[in-house]
């Protein structure tokens, strides 16, 4: 009788080393594993390199050494075009500053991945999914508005929809509640965690806000992570 094969982690980092070009900052992570559907928060002070970690996982930045495997792909081995295609299909990104395009409506912002990469095809099913997501996060009545007409909380909800509309395997959130007041912070976090659960995506969030850590399956201290230390349960 053979032993059950453990599922491959959604995010796996081994002996990662990264240094900004011409910069002093260096990042070193001996090991990191994030399991499928796991919801992980990385806590650490501002400027410690948490955002860089997300960029490396998403293939936005490339490591100087080590291995990064995200959603079954060796990110560092892909060329630029393949990394972009991988990112737009398999990774959803949520930013602290929302990063919505102010000249597009809410619906058009949600559908941007489909308009900006030929690997994705915008059809009725996708539009329906966008409407469903908008309904889930409570902005269904604001789809034709411009981002400038929305509150911060609403804008971040739009960003969550944009990150999830492609049905990604991994959602990477960079301080998703950093710009929100406590009420909106809790609401957005509820929505993000709920949507991620429904889509069975893996969530890796970086934050410096300790008040939200209890909502995650696992919390990683960024300093300990770099030193190869244990995660905080």
């Amino acid at each position: 009788m053979s032993a059950a094969v453990a599922p491959e982690p959604t995010i796996q980092i081994q002996e990662l080393r990264f240094r900004y070009r011409g910069g002093e900052f260096a990042l070193s992570i001996p090991e990191l594993r994030v399991e499928p559907r796991e919801r992980v928060a990385v806590i650490g002070p501002s400027g410690s390199g948490k955002t860089t970690l997300l960029h490396l996982v998403a293939g936005i930045a490339l490591p100087d050494a080590g291995r990064i495997r995200t959603a079954g792909a060796d990110v560092e081995s892909l060329d630029d075009g393949a990394r972009r295609a991988f990112r737009v299909r398999r990774v959803g990104l949520v930013f602290q500053e929302f990063e919505l395009l102010d000249y597009l409506s809410v619906l058009e912002n949600v559908l941007i991945p489909y308009r900006m990469h030929p690997a994705l095809r915008l059809d009725g099913e996708v539009r329906e999914r966008a409407h469903d997501l908008a309904a889930q996060v409570g902005i269904a009545d604001k789809l034709s508005r411009l981002p400038g007409a929305l509150s911060h909380g609403e804008r971040q909800r739009v960003a969550v929809c944009r990150a999830l509309v492609t049905h990604p395997d991994v959602v990477l959130a960079d301080e998703p509640t950093g710009n929100l007041d406590p009420a909106n912070r809790d609401r957005v976090l509820d929505i993000l965690l709920d949507c991620v659960s429904k889509t069975q995506a893996t969530l890796l969030t970086v934050t410096h806000d300790r008040s939200v850590l209890a909502r995650f399956d696992r919390v990683l201290d960024f300093a300990a992570l770099q030193a190869g230390g244990p995660s905080t349960p």
């Binding site: 075009g81 972009r84 000249y103």
Partner: protein, 393 residues
């Protein structure tokens, strides 16, 4: 519309003022040289057409350009006059048909052209209302004059007094409007035509007054010596020529000495033209014969040289405008750097981002090209009509 094109379109639509300014400035700078070229060409063609259709112009020696501008376009001051004998010389040569032109007087701002009926045939002018002048004191007005002054056949026009305070000077003549010409979209539209004798009456070379032999005029008689009657200041001079007093109008002096501003000479053929020009080429000759087309060509050469400088200046401005537009695009790109970074992070294809940014430039240039083309076509189609309207007014 594909994704990046749609986003480019949405960006431009979201910034309509910036887009409109860019489109308008690029369109204008593209249109102006071509539009100016087209307008100048059409104006030049219209100017030269009149000169081309006037084979020869006879006038006093002096500036050929002044003679042509005055004799053909009724512009500038009338040139030094020649005498009627110049016309007789042309006629007697048998080489050309002469048409007299007397200029210098005006009626409510419009030039009075003293000529003969042959002028209307020569210029191909037709009467839209009434008839051509048939008797002394009648006038025919151009379409532009009729429109501007609101006169119609049967109305009167008063020639402008040349010197209001000169008691011995020329008095205004009331002219009856016998006809109105159809528009010809040239200088004739702005002129008042009279018989050359009527022009001489305005000039004071001919006049009409009460019959001093009649008993009613006794008070105006200073002395009588046989057939010779001398009038005093009480004699009534007519300032309007009517059927009743037309017979009293008469000219003093030898007609061959009466002045003309110019004579249009219509030679029988090319040989006659050359021969006629040769006859007026003597060193002591006081009369010159000019070929208006040649004179206008020289003038237009100067105008066209100026135009080439203007067009060159416009092209420099165009380069500066395009450079400014490029700067605007680059600054816009810098302002949108964060947007581009976001698209890269999301995973937008490199080609899609390039198409997004490039298509904004292409949309603006295409819109500007469209506007410039429409304006250029409009000038080509309606430029001539606009020039005509300008000439008519």
């Amino acid at each position: 519309m594909s994704g990046p094109l749609y986003l480019a379109w949405r960006y431009l639509a979201r910034h309509p003022i910036k887009t409109a300014i860019l489109v308008a400035s690029i369109a204008l700078i593209a249109f102006l040289p071509a539009g100016l070229d087209s307008l100048v060409d059409q104006s030049a063609a219209r100017l030269t057409a009149r000169a081309d259709s006037t084979p020869l112009l006879v006038g006093a020696k002096g500036s050929a350009l002044d003679l042509v501008l005055s004799g053909l376009y009724f512009e500038s001051d009338p040139p030094t006059p020649v005498s009627w004998s110049a016309l007789e010389r042309v006629a007697e040569s048998g080489l050309a048909e002469p048409i007299p032109l007397h200029l210098g007087f005006r009626a409510r701002g419009h030039p009075i052209v003293g000529t003969s009926l042959e002028y209307f045939d020569f210029r191909g002018l037709s009467v839209a209302a009434g008839r051509l002048m048939a008797m002394l004191g009648e006038c025919v007005v151009g379409a532009g004059v009729a429109r501007e002054l609101g006169v119609s056949t049967g109305d009167s026009l008063l020639s402008s007094p040349e010197s209001v305070f000169d008691l011995a000077g020329v008095y205004p003549l009331r002219m009856r409007v016998a006809g109105i010409l159809a528009p010809s979209y040239g200088p004739d539209d702005r002129a008042v035509f009279v018989d050359v004798k009527t022009a001489w009456v305005i000039a004071g070379l001919g006049h009409g007054h009460q019959d001093l032999r009649s008993p009613e005029a006794e008070a105006a008689v200073l002395s009588r010596e046989g057939e010779r009657v001398v009038a005093n200041a009480a004699v009534v001079e007519y300032n309007e020529i009517t059927e009743q007093n037309a017979a009293s109008f008469h000219f003093h002096g030898d007609r061959s000495g009466h002045p003309l501003s110019a004579v249009i000479a219509v030679p029988r053929d090319e040989k006659a033209r050359v021969l006629l020009m040769g006859r007026f080429e003597g060193g002591d000759e006081t009369v010159q014969v000019v070929r208006p087309a040649g004179v206008m060509d020289e003038l237009l050469d100067t105008v066209l040289t100026v135009r080439s400088y203007v067009v060159a200046a416009m092209r420099s401005v165009a380069v500066a405008t395009l450079a400014t537009a490029a700067l605007v695009f680059m600054l816009s790109l810098r302002l949108r750097q964060r947007e581009v970074e976001t698209l890269v992070k999301i995973g937008a294809a490199r080609g899609s981002i390039a198409v997004l940014l490039a298509s904004e430039v292409v949309f603006v240039l295409a819109a500007a090209a469209l506007v410039a083309s429409v304006l250029t076509l409009a000038v080509r189609h309606f430029g001539d009509a606009a020039i005509r309207a300008l000439l008519l007014t």
